[in-house]
Symmetry: C2
Subunit: 561 residues, 2 copies
């Protein structure tokens, strides 16, 4: 997100913009947000955790979800729009707050580009947020790998629970892009060094513990969910839980700080909670429920994001997170870019910057369907057009006319270049469209996992039918045998298409959803339905960002983005 935005007079990188900004002490940000002194736990001068046990009840503010269209591989700038839009609300005198996910360290070392917004719409201190931040991911890594060590140690020390070493599904994790850890054999070197096992590492963001932290209501609920984790099967095929290994207490102790949301600020001085970072494919893909709730207790309006397009992130937000947390949603901002509309019409990457009204006419069906889908949940959609320097007047006019014709609220966001100032009209539009309607989840989990999958496939993906592989059918039996088939479903699907085929752009219909595998995440409280290959451990590119990241003798970081 570092190039080709509207204002290019002084092209600067994100890290340069962030470093040129004078931050306010976090104590001042906290005071402005209404965080009491006894609840504030500082981490340096510009970051803090908020001890949620010290937050008093209050009338919650309005929650706005920021989602997007089916994206290009570069992404459409949802976080950047969210931050700029919240800053615009602050400029309009509203008590607004940001709630976002934490970046993962692995990708920071891999591809250039952070996950803390961009340009003049960032959360800061961005170097810290993008590196270790307050240690939440490390705490999750520790808890995840403590459980893994306890599993292998249990088997090593006599295996009283009769855990089948071939059917342990719990993997270790690290917050690093390291493809060589995807498939490993552990426990080599003879009987004193463990029982050999085929296993693997995921990136920390893909750990079930990340999903658990994201959905836990409080420490007690966290511990209950940790105990409920299924780590694999015993020799009789019965699930074995972390609770049977007495691992939940140690894991919860390791997560005692991680459960509290992290307070930072935007470049516009708006308070921001950045907390939790589950993937939007293998998990539900939004910041923690605790952060959202805490933000709502302080602010009149809170903007939060769901990963990828609305078919993935928003659906999971509505059906998983909002259900778990009894959240209501006053509006959904759907972020779109002109390039993404052309992309959805099949325009090649190199041609996306060229004016192409025909492509807009073809590709707008994608946006149209995201608008329709959001409405199916009883939520009011507001389209935010994230502007780039290459957008032409004719293209912008086309989008406006489309919105007028369909009666869709649409505003432009020029936030990368101008921060909150570039989204004031959009902010006003949002305020004018906040709805009192109640969020309606799409399905009732009690009706069974097949109903849940079929409902989402039909209503959101517009598939004609759902096909289960032989493996998935076997998984289904295990789910039913153990009563896991009434959990909500978390469908893992490509973000590039409404279908499970990334090549089907636009608004495909009549396709078949192929369910390949069903994984019970009994701690997180959902079942993951895999519809394609999911990469849970990325690799580094030929020239990783780590090659150019540096720090000078004064401690100033360069080359981060």
């Amino acid at each position: 997100m570092t190039a080709q935005h509207t204002q290019e007079t002084q092209p600067k990188t994100d890290v340069e913009i962030a470093q040129a900004h004078k931050l306010e002490p976090i104590t001042e940000i906290a005071a402005r947000a209404g965080v009491a002194d006894e609840a504030l736990v500082p981490y340096g001068k510009y970051m803090a955790k908020v001890d949620v046990t010290q937050v008093s009840d209050s009338e919650p503010g309005k929650l706005v979800l920021v989602t997007g269209v089916s994206p290009t591989p570069a992404g459409e700038g949802k976080s950047t729009v969210l931050i700029g839009l919240t800053d615009a609300l602050t400029r309009l005198g509203k008590k607004a707050m940001v709630a976002l996910r934490e970046p993962s360290l692995g990708p920071v070392m891999g591809i250039k580009g952070g996950a803390a917004g961009g340009g003049y719409s960032q959360v800061v201190p961005m170097e810290n947020i993008n590196l270790h931040f307050t240690g939440d991911f490390h705490a999750i890594t520790s808890a995840n790998n403590t459980l893994a060590a306890m599993i292998d140690n249990h088997i090593q020390q006599g295996n009283e629970l009769r855990i089948d070493p071939r059917r342990v599904t719990w993997q270790r994790c690290l917050d690093v892009n390291d493809r060589a850890l995807r498939n490993v054999v552990t426990g080599l070197g003879g009987p004193t060094s463990g029982v050999p096992a085929e296993t693997g590492f995921t990136i920390t963001a893909a750990s079930e513990i990340m999903a658990i932290l994201g959905l836990a209501g409080d420490l007690e609920d966290l511990k209950r969910r940790l105990a409920a984790i299924t780590i694999g099967l015993d020799f009789d095929g019965n699930p074995v839980t972390a609770g049977q290994l007495h691992a939940e207490g140690a894991m919860a102790a390791l997560l005692k700080e991680a459960i509290n949301p992290n307070l930072v600020q935007t470049l516009g001085g708006t308070p921001a909670f950045i907390h939790g970072g589950p993937f939007a494919n293998i998990a539900h893909g939004c910041n923690t429920l605790i952060a959202t709730r805490t933000a709502l207790s302080y602010a009149d309006i809170v903007l939060t994001e769901a990963g990828f397009g609305s078919d993935l992130g928003a659906e999971k937000f509505f059906d998983i997170k909002a259900r778990a947390g009894e959240l209501d949603v006053a509006a959904a901002v759907i972020v779109v870019t002109i390039r993404s509309i052309k992309h959805n019409a099949g325009v090649a990457k190199d041609d996306l910057k060229t004016e192409n009204l025909d492509a807009l006419r073809d590709g707008i069906v994608n946006l149209e369907r995201h608008v329709e889908n959001v409405r199916k949940f009883g939520v009011t959609p507001i389209v935010a057009l994230n502007l780039f320097a290459t957008d032409t007047d004719a293209e912008r006019a086309f989008i406006r006319e489309w919105a007028d014709e369909l009666g869709v609220a649409l505003g432009e966001a020029d936030v990368w270049a101008r921060g909150g100032e570039g989204a004031e009209e959009l902010a006003q539009l949002l305020l004018d469209n906040l709805s009192e309607e109640s969020l309606a989840p799409l399905y009732d989990p009690a009706d069974g996992i097949e109903n849940a999958i079929e409902t989402i496939a039909r209503e959101i993906y517009r598939a004609d039918n759902v096909q289960y592989s032989a493996n998935a059918k076997r998984d289904l039996k295990v789910l039913k045998d153990n009563g896991f088939d009434t959990l909500p479903v978390c469908i893992s699907k490509t973000q590039y298409s409404f279908s499970d085929d990334p090549a089907q752009l636009g608004a495909p219909t009549g396709h078949t959803l192929h369910v390949r595998k069903l994984i019970p995440r009994t701690g997180a409280g959902f079942v993951v339905a895999l519809t394609g290959d999911v990469m849970t451990m990325p690799g580094l590119p030929k020239t990783p960002a780590a090659n150019t990241i540096d720090i000078d003798d004064d401690g100033r970081i360069t080359g981060l983005f």
Copy 2:
């Protein structure tokens, strides 16, 4: 260290004692230590980092090293004595400060017993110090594993440096006791998931990056050392460095907070730096040079510890850390227990609590030799007898008489039960014996690694000769070919004997030191000489501490020790 100390009226666990204590805000501890506001970076209310770039130069205080005799497997309470003794100095009106290593999370989850002192001589908040603390170990884990990922990625992406995948010596690390990670095969699953390799994980404390952080003078020196790490050999047998992979900038950026020492407090209200935690076998085994120097800039007297007995920790402190940091040492406190003297006479574990003056007469040779050895470095030894409830008056009298006869300064420490109050006489004795003599390292590294090893073997271990295995001879050639043979040596040897045979207790002579392997740690700046099996990744016991660690709904941790 939770039982059998002198005061047993109210037996409490360490965590209970620590939780019953009312901590002072870290801002007050910092003010008392003389830390300027702009240098203080708070991590919560009771912990902080001190930004060393903001510390002004001042006349350094006196440095006292705390070391010990050849220990029993339970350890003799060096940290506990150090903390109690420093609190005693505070009680005597001295501006004193503690400098200690950070505990490793892996063992905390394994065996019961923390590493932050014990009883009424602890550093607090002990739960935080024993769990994630300020994230230093996690930062080291990240830096270590980022380098590992960059190595494998380089090989994967064409291997321009011609790294021999069979000769990569850089291992991954995790701060967990997980024996199944000792020997692993990575890179399985076909060509998109890396190049298969036999490798392993160490615990984070054994990472060379831990040793580097421990010896770095500042951020610039840290980066220089990171670049100098040898990661393995190329196909021509030449060393490949982290610098050739352009990894030092990213690693240094990941360590930008970890380089600053962590400020906490003792139960007696004395400021304490707890920073770094290298092993005392595979590395030099003491807190960071930066923490020691920073403490010396604030306090009149600083007590710091070296791991295991003086043959291991103190020798390395004098010959490696003090040399690298140009430190002087005003005295060395040798911690001894009556049980350790009996143990060194060969008394069985179950009989150590029984009065046995004959065993004391036999075992005292061990203490005597540690006293002699410390004097060889030009340092004044002061013996601290760490009292236990089972010590008899006759046994204590025997030790006192021994000290009088040999003209050794000796005092008793009753610190587990009584804190600083129990070490006031010892503190006065220490103050009366602070020496102005200059520390004299034992050897000159310029004379070569064989001379260094032979000098230590002869003068400290009292071996008659040194034998090199065929492997070690090959290693020696590589060291000489690459100019690494003039680095100081870090001998990895059992802590239970002056010899390399753990069964030779007391004060053995006439033995042979067997060097099995020589490993260049070109980043840390020393060569590790292995004389036996070194465990760099511990395992969990049958019933790990993690089974009983818990946290209640109010966030209070129980069962930690």
